[in-house]
Symmetry: C2
Subunit: 226 residues, 2 copies
């Protein structure tokens, strides 16, 4: 094995760079209620960041009966609509902009990989200074399977011209950590999406920070220098 | 020591019997934003269920500067206002009503002890079939110190005519579990407030269930028979 000193960082978006997890929970809860589906808020929380298809599949398993395709489509449309209504007030997490600026200044490759479609992720990227025309942003539109499959992160690594196994996946959800393991990357967990530290560690995180500001303060611990 | 076969149950309200934690997060977030205080949503989540005074004190420590008393008062008023706007759509958690009915039918003493004031808790008690005129409900108005101090639970045990050390404290938050330890009760944690299982165990839970329905399904494990 060749000496490996250069790490790339593949970031999740919601709950990792943006303080938007609780807005997604609220949007799903409104959508679920409007379609007459009764499910507790904490169960929605624990599924944020999953592919929307898997979210619905898990829901069906939990409810014990089918949700027809029209209702599935309506759920997805309502979630996007309610989230977009809220997203103008979504803020960057502390340190998100500075962390990306630091990596760029150090010429350390980074990219964003999100289970969201561009119609949902697009309007909020500017809040963290990210321009999809200049930076690598992989959304649900570009791959067949979203998290916890590793395809989004593999596509992000490919677009950077690096290997996923030489990268760190940075995310707030168990789904990011599972995708990280599947792609042989190292997982860095953030508490900023509302998961507990042990949940992230048990899903494979090799290091856990509070949020982007905390990671930037400890960047030397995870290979963040050129 | 006398043989001990009778346990009493002292319940937290929000996130334990009511699916209301995410509504409290939303209400606090709106209140904080309106008073110009910038704090991430997950940090608010992790403080729900604490006394409002301690919530503000922790906030001050985190922000590193004082919040004047007028702002503290305004925060509290705005939170109550925003929560009460949402609380008409708050629902009982699965099994909440059945669990309380079961305990009543078995003549097992139970009570509710919440860090909320009656003006916030009052309007939602009917959703779980609780009438403060008939059942023991201890709110913030009745004690000097709220959770994680054990006073609310001690007052609830006293009102039932039982000892806190012969009771189980049932709650979704780390603050319930800490208060339980302080009062020498056994803590039962629920995942329905969005904490991870390990967080609850590390704070002292001797048993963790998903929600009231899950506890009722396993009631024989925790002394729920006469």
């Amino acid at each position: 094995m060749k000496a490996l000193t250069q790490t790339s960082f593949l970031f999740d978006l919601d709950g990792t760079l943006l303080d938007s997890v609780y807005d997604h929970i609220a949007a799903w809860n409104s959508a679920l209620r409007e379609t007459g589906i009764d499910i507790s808020a904490w169960r929605v929380h624990r599924r944020i960041g999953m592919s929307g298809g898997l979210f619905t599949a898990a829901l069906i398993r939990e409810l014990g009966h089918e949700i027809d395709e029209a209702t599935q489509q309506r759920l997805s449309t309502l979630h996007s609509q309610y989230y977009n209504e809220r997203s103008s007030s979504v803020r960057a997490l502390p340190g998100a902009v500075k962390l990306l600026e630091y990596l760029t200044a150090q010429e350390i490759p980074w990219a964003i990989a999100t289970s969201s479609h561009m119609k949902t992720a697009g309007p909020v990227l500017a809040k963290i200074g990210v321009d999809p025309a200049k930076h690598v942003v992989i959304t649900r539109d570009l791959v067949k399977y979203a998290k916890p499959d590793p395809d989004l992160f593999i596509a992000a690594a490919n677009a950077l011209g690096v290997k996923m196994e030489d990268s760190c996946v940075v995310g707030d959800a168990v789904w990011d950590m599972l995708a990280s393991k599947r792609g042989h990357a190292l997982g860095i967990g953030f508490l900023s999406g509302g998961y507990g530290e042990t949940e992230l560690r048990q899903a494979g995180a090799y290091r856990v920070f509070e949020d982007p500001a905390d990671m930037l303060a400890h960047i030397d611990e995870v290979g963040g220098r050129r």
